[in-house]
């Protein structure tokens, strides 16, 4: 058997075996890390592949989470029924939004997507607070499958499966025709138009994919906590995503996933030192952008 295949099988075995011996607190940390990995992949899809400075990850995270929570609370859907519905709603919203704001570029796009995110946050936390219960949030029932309660371990496996699918999708796209077209757009739009790349189509696709990933992780996160509240969704998450993507290296799914996983896991594990986190993110952002713009996996490769 080839060497890479062995490595992959080994990793899958480790993912299956290790959680059995973990306490629920560490399992929760692992879940948080996996969600961070998916979110960073989402950011990488738009920034690393298409060069879009996308703040809307944060908005779609809230949207996906609240869609799931509201469908369960108001209409009594089962969780596995809401997941496809909220993903479809996310896709519809992302398609409409993408049609509107994708004609902007660079930081104007960033500003527009930031505005979208802040608008979603304002809707959830204050404007429609009668409907979403404002800061109290929505309590969700435990996850049931055929009237059996799904334990944390099974939920962790479910999450790892979805994270694996996301990673695999992202990895395959990176080395396909679509990924190459997207990276061509990122490095030079004029040249990519002249070789016949349909720019709006690929940008829309990248934007949609990142919206789907972030909506998915919002839905999963809400169910993992059994609680949807605006307090979970602060702008700090977006800063964490930036930091993770810059550490992992832009345009590199492996780096983005590992960076997101480790950063979210560590930030939750070291919550006792919360006041030092912001300084740490700031220093990481400045130092990496100045000295190692290709991320941590490429520090050694370059020499």
């Amino acid at each position: 058997m080839q060497k890479p295949k062995m490595v992959i099988i080994l990793i899958i075995l480790l993912i299956i075996v290790i959680p059995i011996f973990l306490k629920s607190r560490y399992l929760f940390l692992g879940m948080y890390g996996l969600l961070g990995g998916i979110l960073t992949l989402a950011f990488d899809f738009s920034y690393g592949y298409c060069g879009l400075f996308n703040f809307s990850i944060y908005g779609f995270l809230i949207f996906g989470g609240y869609c799931t929570a509201l469908l369960i609370e108001k209409l009594g859907f089962p969780f596995f029924g809401t997941l496809p519905v909220s993903l479809v709603l996310t896709i519809v919203l992302a398609y409409i939004l993408g049609k509107i704001i994708l004609r902007l570029r660079h930081w104007l796009f960033g500003l527009a997507s930031l505005c979208f995110s802040m608008a979603i946050y304002t809707c959830v936390s204050s404007v429609f607070s009668d409907f979403t219960y404002g800061a109290d949030g929505i309590r969700l029932p435990d996850l049931l499958v055929f009237e059996h309660k799904v334990g944390e371990l099974s939920y962790f496996y479910f999450l790892s499966l979805l994270a694996g699918i996301c990673f695999y999708t992202s990895y395959r796209v990176r080395f396909s025709k679509i990924g190459r077209a997207m990276r061509a757009i990122r490095s030079n739009e004029t040249v990519s138009v002249s070789v016949g790349i349909n720019i709006p189509r690929y940008l829309n696709l990248g934007f949609l994919m990142s919206a789907v990933f972030s909506g998915l992780s919002g839905a999963l996160w809400v169910q993992a906590n059994n609680w949807a509240t605006p307090e979970y969704f602060t702008l700090g998450i977006n800063i964490k995503i930036f930091t993770a993507a810059i550490i992992g290296g832009v345009g590199n799914p492996m780096g983005a996933f590992i960076g997101g996983f480790l950063l979210f896991l560590l930030s939750q594990a070291l919550i006792a030192f919360e006041q030092y986190h912001v300084l740490f993110y700031g220093i990481i952002l400045v130092v990496f952008l100045r000295f190692f713009p290709l991320g941590i996996l490429n520090i050694f490769q370059r020499r």
Binding site: A112, C115, V127, I284, V286, P293
Partner: protein
């Protein structure tokens, strides 16, 4: 009628603050073509140093203000310019990574401030107190009048500087075509530092003016950035004083919807409206 007038005055006052932050955005953008995400952190640092100078070091107010404007925002602005912006521009990195780097610099200052204060509330008492004066049937804070006066004075001085002095001419020339300006003998690095200093000063003064009305913590920086950014985008990034218009529009929308419809709705309208403005007039309402 009273509600109308008082929300008008309140909206104008907060609009002036947002407008000043927007003007300071453009002071950098027009010269360096760089969007500085650490802008609100100038205001935060100004509030923080005012707090430290008066409460911890017990300095008299005027000395405290002069010392804190020299030591903190100006120093911070110049160090961002020399440590973050200039090297990245020289290495020809894409503009988005520059923007993220300035965000990182702002987060550094927020982190240091947070470690110093423990993210507690910084109590800033206005030297004018919360006294009111009766004007045309409503009670107006003296602080609001101070805000209007300071905004008008600052903008007038800045306009005089830009239009009537030689240094202002160099500043504008460096913004229009930096290579040509360098050929004509403008020292680009110095002119850029001057832009950072002006921007930091305007932003610091805006921070002081708004400090008595908000629950200022070190986290206030990011929300001020967003508000100032929106004001600058509504007014137009290319014009120097367009953001003042944008900020006042924003303040009025937020204040009227707060008192007539529902709190929070104003911000929603503002964000949606901004997306509309970015689509239909991407260079803002006041284009150059």
């Amino acid at each position: 009628m009273e509600i109308f007038l008082s929300s008008l005055v309140g909206g104008l006052a907060f609009g002036c603050i947002y407008g000043l932050i927007g003007v300071s955005f453009n002071a950098i953008y027009n010269v360096c073509h760089l969007v500085n995400f650490a802008q609100g952190h100038f205001a935060m640092l100004a509030i923080l140093s005012w707090f430290y100078m008066t409460h911890v070091f017990k300095m008299p107010l005027p000395i405290a203000l002069v010392a804190s404007i020299i030591f903190v925002p100006v120093l911070f602005g110049i160090s961002i310019q020399y440590l973050v912006a200039e090297p990245l521009v020289r290495a020809k990195r894409p503009i988005v990574s520059l923007v993220i780097a300035t965000l990182g610099a702002g987060l550094c200052s927020e982190g240091i401030g947070g470690i110093l204060t423990g993210f507690r509330n910084l109590f800033i008492y206005s030297p004018l107190g919360y006294e009111t004066v009766k004007l045309g049937g409503i009670y107006v804070f003296w602080n609001y009048i101070l805000i209007f006066g300071c905004t008008a004075l600052l903008c007038f001085v800045y306009w005089l500087f830009l239009e009537k002095t030689k240094l202002g001419l160099q500043l504008r020339a460096a913004g229009i075509d930096d290579e040509m300006a360098a050929l004509e003998g403008v020292n680009l690095v110095k002119i850029r530092s001057l832009a950072w200093i002006i921007s930091a000063t305007i932003c610091a003064i805006a921070g002081w003016l708004v400090a008595p009305f908000i629950q200022a913590t070190v986290l206030v920086g990011l929300s001020l950035v967003i508000n100032g950014f929106v004001a600058a985008a509504i007014g137009g990034f290319a014009s120097s004083f367009g953001p003042l218009l944008g900020g006042i529009l924003m303040g009025l929308i937020v204040s009227f919807s707060y008192s007539y419809i529902q709190p929070g709705l104003g911000e929603l309208i503002m964000f949606m409206g901004l997306i509309g403005i970015l689509i239909f007039r991407p260079h803002g309402l006041v284009a150059r």
